[in-house]
């Protein structure tokens, strides 16, 4: 905390945008900012063909939309059953949380922890962190941009691990398929949960961390 605050502010850092350049988001080639309008159609990277954007288009609005959608889906994903298992005529519905509790009671707390982190903690963490980053950018915060960028990078890499529970459902459904003796069906929550995972991945991709730093440059102007 102190160490970061103590570093002297560099004199007006030169960004690619200020220099009239765009760094390709894929191959990172520096290209001149094409004249074809501010927002509309951007040019293409001459090297890899990716669309060139100085800042991701409508980053804040898109990320908010995806984030809200994921937040809504998060509720049925946790309340509805993830799997419905039938064994000798008895039917049992399991939600994400009841799966976690099952492993705790079973004494396999480490498996319980893995499922809890991947299925409950990570999606919620992603929603909260991206929400915080959006609000901080919208408010023009200059609070510890380096740490906020790091936070963004963490949400970007950690999100895919939530797919764990979807894979578990797919494997259980394939394996336990002995008709009346024992069978497992995917519950409706699986679909909502998959929605949460996919939409939060897109939300993280649509957020532009460069917005965090833009505020700092405004102060120099």
């Amino acid at each position: 905390m102190g160490a970061l605050g103590g570093t002297p502010v560099m004199a007006a850092p030169l960004t690619a945008r200020k220099a009239g350049l765009v760094g390709c988001s894929v191959c990172r080639l520096l290209c001149p900012e094409t004249s074809s309008g501010r927002k509309g159609k951007a040019g293409k990277c001459p090297r890899c063909g990716a669309a060139l954007h100085s800042r991701k288009p409508d980053s804040i609005v898109r990320t908010w939309a995806l984030l809200i959608a994921a937040g809504i889906l998060y509720i049925p994903a946790n309340i509805l059953p993830m799997t419905i298992s039938t064994s000798l005529g008895q039917t049992q519905s399991d939600t994400i949380m009841s799966g976690v509790i099952y492993f705790i009671q079973d004494g396999s707390w480490y498996i319980a922890l893995i499922i809890f982190v991947a299925s409950i903690f990570v999606p919620l963490f992603k929603l909260l962190i991206l929400g915080y980053l959006l609000i901080s950018v919208q408010r023009g915060s200059t609070f510890r941009p380096r740490d906020r960028t790091r936070l963004y990078r963490i949400t970007e890499t950690v999100g895919r691990w939530s797919m764990l529970d979807i894979f578990v459902v797919a494997i259980l459904v394939a394996l336990v398929n002995l008709g009346a003796l024992a069978s497992i069906q995917a519950g409706p929550a699986a679909l909502y949960f998959a929605g949460v995972v996919v939409i939060t991945i897109f939300a993280a991709l649509s957020f532009d961390p460069r917005l965090i730093w833009d505020e700092k440059e405004k102060m120099h102007d």
Binding site: T15, G23, S87, I114, L164, F167, A174, P209, D214
Partner: protein, 202 residues
């Protein structure tokens, strides 16, 4: 050559000169700390070996028995696609498609597209459209999830341990190896070395 000397940080847009980085180390953005370039050994032979191994393992992963479920004298043998088929049969085609995409299509594309780019580079040639292929490769990277699938296998085995006997098949072992091989392949490919083969707009 000139393309690499200056770069805009992908995370904070700071324009900076990239120093020559010694092999095995990386250059980070001096403002936000993002990794700008990693200097890896300048050779495509190791990635090629890894990718060819990966293709073989991927074939085994898809073709051979995955897990078997033994209960009360009955055996339920499965393949990797069994789960996908079951899901779509249970009225969840979207979920089935997502699982298929993340465990079979995206990793398969990753292997083939990497080979398409890397194999000609080993012979000092450029495959047509290699930069576009390489771009799609980078775009699909977050969607290939074999390592998460592996964790799913372990959790499933733990979940069913009390209910029945689970017998892992050849596909599980090849999946285990595939994770390491694919990680090694992508770790040994220096994307800058690939982009550097470009000479001006065509």
């Amino acid at each position: 050559m000139t393309a690499i000397s200056a770069m805009a940080c992908p995370d904070c847009d700071l324009l900076q000169r990239i120093p020559t980085v010694p092999e095995g180390s990386e250059a980070c953005c001096r403002r936000c700390g993002a990794v700008l370039i990693r200097n890896k050994p300048k050779s495509f032979t190791r990635p090629l070996a890894m990718l060819l191994t990966g293709v073989i393992l991927f074939g085994i992963f898809n073709a051979f028995p995955f897990l078997a479920f033994k209960k009360a004298g009955r055996v339920q043998q499965t393949h990797v696609i069994t789960g996908i088929r079951q899901l779509s049969g249970q009225g969840m085609p979207v979920l089935a498609a997502l699982v298929a995409f993340t465990t079979i299509i995206a990793p398969g594309f990753n292997l083939l597209a990497s080979l398409y780019v890397i194999l000609p580079l080993n012979l000092n040639r450029k495959a047509p459209g290699m930069f576009h292929v390489f771009r799609y490769l980078k775009a699909l990277e977050p969607w290939h999830m074999v390592e998460i699938f592996m964790l799913g296998v372990l959790v499933s085995i733990a979940k069913l341990a009390e209910m029945a006997q689970i017998v892992p098949g050849a596909a599980v072992y090849s999946l285990t190896a595939l994770i390491f091989v694919m990680a090694a392949a992508s770790a040994s490919i220096d994307p800058h070395e690939v982009w550097e083969r470009w000479e001006g707009p065509r």
